[in-house]
């Protein structure tokens, strides 16, 4: 819930159509405004400049998607090629693959993450022993503090072919070893588990706090009426935090076109054999840029993501606004 205004604006602007303002009067007013707002302007200046430089200056650069970029010519002097880059991108099955993988995996992530963290929060909410509750919370929260590079190394300890925990265990149980990093079909499941492991703690704590915010009166009344704990959960707890769940769901749907690059890059160890199921838009753009040096294609895929992503975010925000105006981004 970000409001553009925190307080109702006091001054209602009446544009003086009747009397023409001379240029000098306008200038004088501008100078007066500058002086009056000088301190605020100066305060916002550093942050504002950083936003301009790192967020707005790159924006005109999206024209690279329509150019045949040559490093020696620079962005502006490189020849225009119209929609050529997009034609190439969509002519191959790459565009389809990365779009499908991004949306498919993100959808699974959204559902598993909501269900998982909600279930975890419900369980944590039932624990009556303080120190145990704290231990559980720390254990499930800890992956949130671990960087994807380290998660990648965790994964290696578990999944590597020669001596990873999984293969050692499989062998001990009498099964065949699996070459995890070369078998794409396992990866939607592995990534789903990784995503759940990394984020469930954080989100369960968010839901848990919402649950703790529910007034105990409801539960006392329910208990008097003889409601079981399970009934209390399904009739009181869940309905009362449903708005929060819906908002979180919608906000994740808004970002469905953006993948978590770190997970797809480090956890898969960027293994090219896994691309059929793990290559997403973000990893493709990165690879096209850094490995292949194909700026035009990378730019085209990036612009495609920015535009479609922009639309999904707008759409999700529009729905959020209908559900709960307080929670919308704008």
């Amino acid at each position: 819930m970000i409001h553009l205004t925190d307080t109702p604006s006091q001054e209602k602007k009446r544009w003086p159509f009747t009397k023409a303002i001379s240029l000098s009067a306008a200038l004088a007013r501008f100078l007066r405004d500058l002086q009056k707002n000088g301190a605020f302007l100066l305060m916002s200046l550093p942050g504002f400049l950083l936003v301009i430089v790192f967020s707005y200056l790159p924006m005109p650069g999206i024209i690279i998607a329509f150019k045949n970029f040559k490093a020696n010519l620079g962005l502006w002097n490189s020849p225009w090629v119209g929609f050529k880059n997009f034609e190439f991108l969509f002519a191959t099955d790459i565009a389809w693959r990365i779009t499908y993988n991004t949306i498919f995996l993100n959808s699974i992530f959204i559902f598993t993450s909501i269900l998982g963290s909600l279930g975890l929060a419900l369980l944590l909410n039932e624990v009556r022993i303080k120190w145990l509750a704290r231990f559980y919370q720390s254990a499930v929260f800890f992956p949130y503090f671990v960087s994807w590079v380290i998660v990648g190394l965790f994964g290696f300890a578990i999944l590597n072919y020669d001596n990873g925990l999984m293969n050692v265990t499989l062998e001990r149980l009498g099964y065949e070893r699996v070459d995890w990093y070369k078998t794409p079909s396992y990866w939607p499941a592995i990534l789903t588990i990784t995503n759940l492991w990394k984020g469930a703690g954080y989100w369960s704590i968010v839901y848990l706090a919402a649950m703790m915010g529910i007034s105990p009166d409801y539960y006392e009344a329910a208990e008097l009426d003889g409601a079981s704990r399970w009934q209390q959960i399904t009739r009181i707890t869940l309905p009362l935090i449903t708005p929060l769940i819906i908002i979180n769901f919608l906000l994740s749907v808004g970002r469905i076109f953006f993948a978590d690059f770190g997970m797809f890059y480090y956890v898969t160890r960027d293994s090219s054999l896994l691309y059929p199921t793990t290559d997403v838009i973000d990893t493709y753009v990165f690879r096209a840029l850094r490995r292949l040096g194909d700026f035009g294609m990378a730019g085209a895929a990036g612009l495609y993501q920015s535009l479609v992503g922009f639309l999904t975010i707008l759409f999700a925000n529009w729905v959020v606004k209908r559900v709960d105006p307080e929670k919308s981004i704008f």
Partner: protein
């Protein structure tokens, strides 16, 4: 001497089932906690294992043939690790402090109703959360126009202003008692003085929460170094780990080409020891400061 009165508590199915479900719930949560901690346990055990045994018998829950060799080796020639550590600490401290200053100044200006251009400025910030130029234009800007490649500033500047945090701070500032500010202004205090002497001291909880998230962002960052840093002297911790992992792969896959002559091959236990050393301080610190994160998570999702 008073004796404790023995009360006869009739068997209650309700209480019985409650105790059973408590045991059941705790059992499930113990199992979940174990699964969540499993990778950490495996990595720590591996770092404490003997190299040959690890290679032969594989990763397991307990150290095999306990050995501190990996850590000894690590601290024998700690140059690269120390360098990476100092880069990470420098970037984290500078970035967090500078970011807090820049963001809170911006947030304060945006929180003041008197500020005339508050709306357009807020919109500019919000728009960056909706649309971005994407990786390629940003990459070109930073490498070609700003020429920041292999400059330590590139690890700091891009994360200094995070719109979401600015809005968290702004709503915190807007929630402060406005009378204090009014009174100070009547007394003739300048906006700067009000900001630094009244608003900031009152805002330590919000600053602490945002600050902790900033520390986490900078400490765990590998993205900026992956894109813009080639000079090994400027590798932060996370990127050093990644490059060691990648080099080890490169060397093992080329081990029959004679490239290995005179090159020390990073071993598995050593890599796992590095993970522990890289993760240790931040993980402990953050577990200790967990409650601030929880508060941050709440501000972010409930009140943002």
């Amino acid at each position: 001497m008073p004796t404790r009165r023995q009360t006869y508590r009739p068997f209650s199915f309700y209480r019985f089932s409650r105790n059973v479900s408590q045991i059941f719930i705790n059992a499930i949560l113990l199992l979940i906690s174990f699964i969540f901690l499993l990778p950490l346990i495996v990595v720590i055990s591996a770092s404490l294992s003997d190299e040959q045994t690890l290679a032969k018998h594989g990763y397991s829950l307990l150290p095999q043939n306990f050995s501190l060799a990996a850590y000894e080796y690590l601290f024998l020639a700690p140059d690269r690790l120390l360098r990476a550590y100092s880069v990470t600490i420098f970037v984290t401290v500078t970035g967090t402090l500078l970011g807090l200053l820049v963001m809170s100044m911006l947030a304060y200006a945006l929180s003041r109703p008197e500020f005339k251009w508050r709306k357009p400025f807020s919109f500019m910030l919000i728009f960056t959360m909706l649309f971005s130029g994407g990786l390629v234009p940003t990459y070109l800007l930073i490498t070609q126009v700003l020429q920041l490649k292999d400059n330590i500033l590139v690890l700091i500047l891009p994360y200094l202003v995070i719109p979401w945090f600015v809005f968290i701070l702004r709503s915190f500032f807007a929630g402060l008692p406005q009378e204090l500010i009014e009174v100070a202004r009547v007394d003739g205090a300048s906006e700067w003085r009000i900001f630094f002497q009244i608003v900031l001291p009152l805002s330590t909880p919000a600053l602490a929460t945002v600050g902790l998230f900033m520390i986490l962002i900078y400490w765990n960052d590998w993205w900026l170094s992956l894109l813009y840093i080639n000079n090994p002297n400027l590798f932060p911790l996370q990127y050093l780990l990644f490059s060691i992992m990648r080099n080890a792969e490169f060397l093992t896959s080329n081990s029959n080409t004679g490239l290995l002559m005179g090159v020390e091959l990073p071993t598995q236990t050593l890599r796992m020891a590095m993970v522990v050393v890289a993760m240790g301080p931040i993980a402990t610190a953050f577990l200790a400061l967990q409650k601030y994160f929880i508060r941050g998570a709440l501000i972010g999702s409930l009140k943002g």
